[in-house]
Symmetry: C2
Subunit: 657 residues, 2 copies
């Protein structure tokens, strides 16, 4: 018996090890993370069945992802690998970070595969993995730029080289694919490169710098896959920053948001994507280490951003120069940079802060960025992308905003991976039960942390309607807590369980814990007041002086020229606001328009004397610019702007009382 | 007799030739310019006797000019020449255009010498001329950057090389000195360099590009000295632009404002100083050639600038990125770039447009820029300079604004040469008489174009008071016209001759021609309404929405924190405007303050709830930011900001009615 049993035990042990090693298809695997308050629910466990996000995700898989691969091929991004393996004799094309564009596309595919099996996409991923690994050097080094004549420059120009950045995206794609399929070929290639780094770089070896942060969060996630502490430590070393040995200038440390100890940061500054990838990685690092200095720094940086540097759309990064954060309250509209990648980085960071703290304010930012500044980044047909997402556009300026391709094509695959991984953002588990972060029609089929199988279904027309009906189906009746999120924007909200209002306050901007013995078929209704809101911004935001932006639910609205009466210039319109602005706007669902959206109708005003007739400067007493003519205005969701040809558009609009 | 007479005639002839060759010490010598409507009055012919500009000019000569030479020496700018002549063995220092900084300083000295003989300055100029020419190569080439290892790069990187730019400033200095002293040593050096250009460059030879326009206006002025048509033609060739042969990219043509035919320009764009130097040179070229395409282009560009791209201070160049003009109405306050050199270039261009057209609108811009955006560029003590002249500053941002030295130290000597040449801007002659452009205490001792000696004296406390008393003293009674300028800002104005109001309309923004038989001692009184004005800007200037700027006469006012009551934050103030804003502000001359200025007192408001307590975004109905508390505010002339230590400052202020 014993002799027979041993091999069987070994097999079981091996399988157990494999199962432990191949966790569910989560975005972040926080199962063993000591400082995670919340844990991810797998992408595969949530089906988004209909509505806005089902539609966006369908387009993403059917149009965006396939056409972008064609463009990556056409632009030589895959050939950059083939030339190194000798499979093609072509010159290298594109800027030095193009490898990452392909990796990000592959990560998008991997997340699609976590939701549904698509053999075509799987085949593409495997084929690309083969192309990529054929270009990997025996040492583990892999990069299509620093080769041949430029080989001597490896690690010599880390402040711009993007070597670690590309590796980070390779690791993210590899991990997502491994979690989707169990196939660890690309992952092993990535680990081989990391092993190369561990050999030659570190505090007592050669210095290493995240010229563009990204590697940090990838290494922490790799640690969550491998359990190899060296992977976490390498992330920590990079976050501490080795800029002194590399003799970097202070301005470089600002721009890169790396190179000096992360815990010495006090403000969000420099390149917005770099900064928010760095804070994302630092949050991951905190979740594993519990380092209180990190937590303090992260809170401080987060407060700095949301109180003075974030657009109403959830976008970040005000300045084109350096693609950077501006000064506090520097939030220009027409010249907003608000890169799609920066909004995504904002979401990524908040997803990690939410996991660490379980506070609804982070989910508020996620919902805001997702529905607006990220959502705007991809056209409704799924083949045009914004790099910039400005909040005001002339028809002329609009011409350059949505494009199928960018030589720096970071945003398109970033949008694709975000849409593909979206199901993973709706829920989290906690020790005491379940958190519901996002609303929208979907079904979750997962389990509580104690292993109890649990299904939750959301019936709702959210974000167009504020009523969300949850049906809760634990495998068997059981006491636990469901934390339902009341968005910060909800001026009124009600929560019913089994048709009866719950006791206790229902506060906006918080999770409402509903602790009870949940039985299969139990229902929860969350009713959020969707009345339109006219929002003012801080007086120091000079662009918004005298203006309001209209929101309804999580959706920011905009005036686009297409929808206004003939002769009414968007830039010459005024809202006419009463004491209760909610009553000044009428919501109407338009199935036929822009993929089906709620538009807002408003009896506003247009200028008696258009601005085009005014001087640059004139005495206040002769200055004559106000809304004198009634005008029936129509507002569309901001994210749908520029889907009907170039036209003037603005979010922040002048108003009169 | 005949034998005796001939040599005498020769002597007379030689003297006449010399006299013709060495014209009066004007800024622009338009004596023979076929398309000049107005001609310059020499700097030497106008004495600014007292008041604001006498004070500024005194500091300029006594403090600014001497201390800047010390700094130029300390920073190796003169040594850059000495090392080439072997007089010093030191490395070259500073950016590639430093030669021009020295030349501009020398031009300032030359203009001082046009006003008064200062042997110390003359000696310095001669000494520097010697240092410079000792570094000139036998070919005529002269530049301290493109030497030794960089010699091979001469004319190879004209888009950034500044070789012609430096030559242009050398010529301007040389011409001004020649006109001041008759000494043409530096001028001959400059001509030698021009001869070198004429030999090797041009349409059928090597291409030439004004990577930074400046050479164009210098060459036209050189033509006015030499009468050598080749000098004018070379300017014309450069203005037509040879960018195609140099394979320049469209963005370079925008940035440099050169390289393509000047007459193809339609908007002011790109680097502001480059653009306005180019338009200055093009205006000079028009004045000599009468090319109608140039005239049309210049008018179009000027309109583009003054209707959408000029600050209320006369500053230009909105963007730090590329030191560039922005889009129409892109006129941010805190982030205004408004380089001192750009305001000076604006003045230079308008001085030429005024000469060409004789229209008061150009003098309006000159007066505006001079009193505000240029005037602000030098501290009251004369030793600190602004590179940027923003219209709003936090105390923190203020710390970097006034400095004694910049590695690119173009602005300090540019301010110095402008102040030094100022007497040349007060008057012009015309075929029919005299134009009076600027007001202020001064005496002119010159002549009409027919040779009649004419003295004019201005008694006034302008710009602090609007009454200007002219005393007109022709050598003998004579009929001619005096054109007195009624500034565009004058809401009311009166002109009296001999104590009696003239017949006919007195319109703001025009020259009022007073044609009569002028007898010695005749008087003219110009009374301009100096009541304070609250100015609005075009609604598309987003920074100024809901705000006004206060002006009095040509002076723009600002709120600086120093002058406000304790606890009243400049950024939380509101003006309280009645139907007649002039009555809301009280003017008071403060002899002791900021060199003697009129301040404005205003019973305004401060915010009930300071902005620091407000959220980034909140519903309009709960938004609470308005002036609720009366506050006695004091406004100072904008140009005096930041002369009492770093403090918050703003020009455009929120207002309530």
């Amino acid at each position: 018996m014993r002799q027979i049993c041993i091999p069987a035990l070994i097999v079981v042990g091996a399988f157990a090890a494999y199962a432990a090693e191949r966790p569910p298809s989560v975005i972040l695997n926080l199962e063993k993370s000591p400082h995670a308050k919340l844990r991810n629910v797998p992408v595969s466990a949530v089906k988004i069945s209909e509505g806005l996000w089902a539609e966006r995700r369908k387009i993403n898989v059917e149009k965006s992802i396939p056409t972008l691969l064609e463009l990556l091929e056409q632009n030589g991004i895959v050939d950059n690998f083939r030339r190194l393996s000798g499979r093609k004799d072509v010159p290298r094309r594109g800027p030095l970070y193009t490898d990452s564009d392909l990796y990000k596309w592959m990560e998008a595919v991997a997340f699609v595969l976590q939701s549904e099996d698509r053999p075509d996409l799987r085949a593409n991923f495997d084929r690309l993995t083969d192309e990529i690994l054929a270009a990997q050097e025996p040492s583990g080094y892999l990069n299509t730029w620093y080769v041949e004549d430029r080989k001597a420059l490896r690690w010599k120009e880390q402040e711009r080289g993007h070597e670690l950045y590309c590796l980070g995206h390779m690791l993210q794609a590899a991990i997502a694919y491994y979690r989707a399929t169990g196939n660890r070929k690309l992952l092993d290639g990535g680990i081989k490169f990391v092993d190369y780094l561990l050999r030659d770089f570190g505090p007592d070896k050669q210095p290493l710098l995240a010229g563009h942060p990204e590697i940090e969060l990838a290494l922490v996630e790799l640690y969550r896959v491998t359990g190899n502490r060296q992977h976490l430590d390498l992330a920590g070393y990079i976050l501490r920053g080795d800029g002194e040995r590399l003799k970097l200038r202070p301005q470089q440390l600002v721009y890169m948001f790396s190179g000096k100890p992360f815990t010495q940061r006090t403000i969000m500054e420099g390149h917005a994507v770099r900064a928010a990838y760095a804070t994302s990685g630092a949050t991951d690092y905190y979740i594993e280490t519990g380092d209180a200095e990190y937590r303090r720094t992260l809170n401080r940086l987060w407060n700095d951003m949301v109180t003075s540097k974030m657009y109403i759309t959830g976008g970040i990064g005000s300045r084109a120069a350096g693609e950077a954060f501006g000064d506090p309250y520097e939030l220009p509209n027409a010249r907003a940079y608000t890169e799609s990648c920066a909004a995504i980085a904002n979401l990524m960071w908040n997803w990690r802060m939410l996991a660490a703290a379980g506070e609804a304010k982070y989910a508020d930012v996620i919902e805001l960025a997702l529905h607006n500044s990220i959502n705007s980044g991809m056209s409704l047909e799924g083949t045009l992308y914004c790099y910039r997402n400005p909040l005001e556009l002339t028809a002329e300026a609009a011409k350059g905003i949505r494009n199928p391709w960018y030589s720096t094509t970071c945003c398109p695959p970033n949008l694709e991976r975000t849409f593909a991984s979206l199901p993973g953002l709706y829920y989290s588990t906690s020790r005491d039960g379940l958190y519901v972060h996002l609303y929208g029609p979907n079904e979750m089929n997962w389990k509580l942390e104690d292993g109890t199988p649990l299904k939750v279904k959301q019936d709702t027309r959210y974000p167009w309607d504020g009523t969300v009906d949850l049906t809760v189906n634990p495998a068997a009746a059981k006491e636990f807590t469901i934390h339902v999120r009341i968005p910060e924007w909800a001026e009124a909200a009600e929560v019913q369980v089994g048709g009866r209002r719950i006791a206790g306050p229902v506060k906006a901007g918080e999770y409402i814990p509903i602790k009870r013995r949940w039985a299969p078929g139990d229902t929860v209704r969350i009713a959020l007041d969707m009345k339109p809101r006219a929002i003012k911004s801080h007086p120091r935001v000079v662009d918004n002086q005298g203006r309001v932006a209209i929101m309804r639910g999580p959706i920011v609205y905009a005036l686009e020229q297409h929808d206004q009466p003939a002769g009414v210039d968007v830039f010459d319109t005024f809202f006419k606001l009463s004491a209760d602005p909610a009553k000044d706007f009428t919501a109407e669902f338009r199935k036929d328009l822009l993929g089906g959206v709620v538009v807002l109708r408003h009896r506003g005003l247009s200028a008696t004397r258009p601005a085009s007739g005014l001087s640059l400067y004139e005495p206040v007493q002769s200055f004559d610019y106000k809304g004198g003519k009634p005008a029936d205005l129509v507002l569309i969701p901001y994210y749908t702007f520029l889907n009907r040809g170039p036209a003037a558009m603005q979010v922040w609009t002048l108003y009169q009382k």
